[in-house]
């Protein structure tokens, strides 16, 4: 048995599809827990949505190769 190797885009879309309830949970939690944190909620929601875009756009970060000046 091997986990299904779905394409990166398809996995990204699954993540996006299930994100809305998580964001709602977080916003609701913050609204309820501490009064002084309420003003944060719109910001959090905005950042979460930005983050979702990042999930789809993220690529492997390549380090600058380091071949000559090793020592």
């Amino acid at each position: 048995m091997i986990l299904k190797r779905r394409g990166k885009i398809r996995r990204g879309l699954t993540v996006v599809a299930s994100a809305a309830p998580s964001i709602a949970d977080l916003a609701r939690g913050m609204w309820k827990s501490e009064k002084r944190n309420r003003w944060l909620v719109p910001l959090v929601v905005f950042l979460c949505i930005t983050g979702l875009v990042l999930v789809l756009a993220s690529t492997v970060e390549v380090l600058a190769p380091f071949i000559y000046t090793i020592f």
């Binding site: 048995m1 986990l3 996995r11 993540v15 996006v16 977080l26 983050g51 979702l52």
Partner: protein, 603 residues
């Protein structure tokens, strides 16, 4: 019920599987993916766990993630705003690293496993630590203390666990929140001393023994104690909450001097090296002081004889031993994987026993939950390469051969059974050697581990002989089971245990039970019969920068790349050919000259 626990995304991700309350498999992703401290979503580890039980992902009743990523995100965001504008430069970095996959764990689990949302549960970071410590230990009622860098908000918690008949409780009573964190304090000094954070902490512990705590008062000024028994860090000395690149501030440098660059040599006998050793010693000293005092209070408050320690700070064996000696607890339990990897198991146990209320079961008291060894694999690859490989007829012959090699000063790679869960090699994926001489230690450091000489190696000893060679307080045997405590070597044996005795006369020993690892136990006994000392040096089977080996072929590759003389996997034994220099030396020069001449002519 079939419950899969997952920990991922910060360091060493892992997966663990419970079926009907009993563990079936648990392994760190790095052992499968072969990337040291692999923090990626543990696809390989999950596959192994499901395979081990013959399950398809759809058959799982629940998948538990070890912490709440959204709360963590809230913490990072809140900290960034609270410290604004100092966090200005690190803010994009912090957002980029949290906002990607790390935040969308539910979707991620769904996308990999295809399980419906209602089967995906989230534990809390420190509750997972607490459960990993308490529910794997043979105790019914215990105090719990967990400490690490940071979870969602908490960095240190105290609590209590009860297993009374059917009902299991793991409750956290109080917590200390980020940024006030003993784990971050230690890690900051790890970085200050030029070691890699999250893996170099034990180097700080090793270095501490070379110094004296002459800066302890200055460290105490940084860690201010509060009246309720907690502490606060003076954040003017730190930057980990505002800066992505450096964790300490200039003020810390003003107090302790310039930090060490990672590639600068560290010689504890030089003036500069002395300063670093003294800094390490002071931090270690203050950490012990605080934790011992907290545990003493906890002992009085809860009035139970057992203590379970969890979180990365519980890997500090010197501190654990002091807690056992001084806090008043009779027994101290540290699980084999107290760090974040262990949380995969902790979260699964918590879901099973507490959330679903399934009947309590005793957890088998050993760490061997990883992939099993296939000795035939080794036999095959060694034969392909033309190395002398033999399958010996029975264990007695194997032990006899290994003991003979060890006595001759040879270094043996020893693989057996299933891989350990947790950072320590406990006799199933170990490099073994005679523990007697400092030369042997230096040889290991130089030609296998390629590492600093101030780091000690650990001894393994049968439980029943441990007190003969080591000064163990009551309960010390148990702490030694997973190499969780550092204890003094008896002075009369220090000469013959030079390779495993640290500069301060202590050793981080492993006590080996016949019931838990019968073969390793038999090997120690056999070595004892021949040498008069049933102790072996046991260090993890890996090279610097690589994870501990898992499969026989990985052991073989490591064996080929370093100065290990003999590799044992089950009953399969492989040795190296004659030394390469001897081999080159034995060539006939005339014949070679002829070869060169021929090639010349061909051109």
């Amino acid at each position: 019920m079939k419950i899969l626990g997952i920990s991922a995304h910060y360091h060493d991700s892992a997966a663990a599987l419970l079926v009907d309350g009993m563990p079936v498999a648990a392994v760190q992703e790095e052992r499968i993916s072969r990337r040291k401290n692999d923090a990626a979503f543990p696809v390989g580890a999950i596959e192994y766990c499901l395979n081990q039980a013959g399950l398809e992902p759809e058959e799982l009743d629940a998948v538990v993630f070890y912490e709440k990523p959204m709360l963590k995100f809230e913490r990072i965001l809140t900290m960034a705003l609270r410290e604004w504008p100092r966090t200005f430069s690190s803010f994009p970095h912090a957002m980029k690293s949290t906002l990607g996959e790390k935040l969308w764990v539910k979707g991620l689990i769904k996308s990999w496993l295809g399980v419906p949302s209602d089967k995906i549960l989230f534990s809390e970071h420190h509750r997972s630590h607490a459960a990993a410590a308490m529910l794997t230990a043979p105790t019914r009622d215990a105090a719990i203390l967990t400490a690490d860098g940071v979870g969602e908000w908490a960095a240190l918690t105290v609590g209590r666990g009860k297993r009374a008949g059917a009902k299991v409780e793991v409750d956290l009573l109080r917590e200390i929140r980020f940024p006030h964190s003993l784990g971050m304090l230690y890690s900051t000094f790890t970085a200050f001393l030029g070691f890699p954070v999250n893996e170099g902490e034990y180097k700080v512990m090793g270095l501490a023994s070379y110094g004296s705590p002459r800066f302890a008062d200055r460290v105490r000024e940084i860690v201010e104690r509060t009246e309720d028994g907690g502490f606060r860090l003076d954040m003017r000395y730190f930057e980990y909450h505002t800066n992505a690149k450096r964790s300490f501030s200039n003020r810390l440098i003003d107090v302790f001097g310039p930090p060490r660059a990672p590639w600068e040599p560290l010689d504890p006998t030089s003036t500069e090296g002395r300063r670093f050793a003294d800094v390490a010693s002071s931090v270690q000293h203050v950490l012990e002081e605080i934790l011992v005092e907290m545990c003493t209070r906890l002992r009085k408050e809860l009035d139970v004889p057992d203590l379970c320690l969890g979180g990365g700070v519980a890997l500090n064996g010197v501190c654990n031993a002091r807690i056992l000696r001084e806090s008043g607890f009779e027994r101290v339990f540290v699980p084999p994987a107290p760090g974040d990897a262990g949380c995969a198991l902790g979260a699964a146990l918590l879901a099973d026993r507490v959330f679903f209320g399934n009947p309590d079961r005793d957890f088998p008291d050993h760490p061997y939950w990883g992939p099993a060894l296939d000795p035939q694999e080794l036999f095959r690859v060694a034969r392909e390469d033309g190395l002398p490989a033999e399958e010996l007829p029975n264990d007695d012959v194997v032990l006899d051969r290994v003991v003979r090699e060890l006595q001759a000063g040879k270094i043996v790679g020893w693989m057996d059974g299933r891989t350990e869960f947790g950072p320590r090699a406990l006799g199933n994926r170990s490099i073994l050697s005679a523990p007697h001489t400092a030369e042997q230690r230096d040889r290991l450091n130089k030609s296998i581990k390629f590492r600093e000489e101030f780091r000690p190696f650990a001894p393994a000893v049968p439980t029943e002989h441990a007190s003969t060679y080591f000064e163990l307080p009551p309960g010390g045997h148990r702490l030694g089971r997973f190499m969780s405590g550092v204890f003094p070597v008896r002075p009369e044996h220090r000469d013959r245990l030079a390779a495993v005795t640290h500069v301060d006369g202590t050793a981080r020993l492993q006590t080996v039970d016949r019931d838990v690892s019968p073969r390793f136990h038999a090997l120690l006994e056999a070595y004892g019969r021949k040498s008069g000392l049933p102790v072996l040096l046991n260090t993890s089977f890996n090279l610097a920068g690589e994870p501990i080996v898992n499969r026989a072929v990985e052991g073989y590759s490591t064996f080929r790349r370093c100065a290990i003389d003999m590799l044992v996997a089950g009953r399969c034994v492989v040795t190296k050919r004659a030394d390469r220099t001897a081999e080159i030396d034995s060539g006939a020069p005339e014949e070679e000259a002829g070869l060169n001449a021929k090639e010349e002519a061909a051109e």
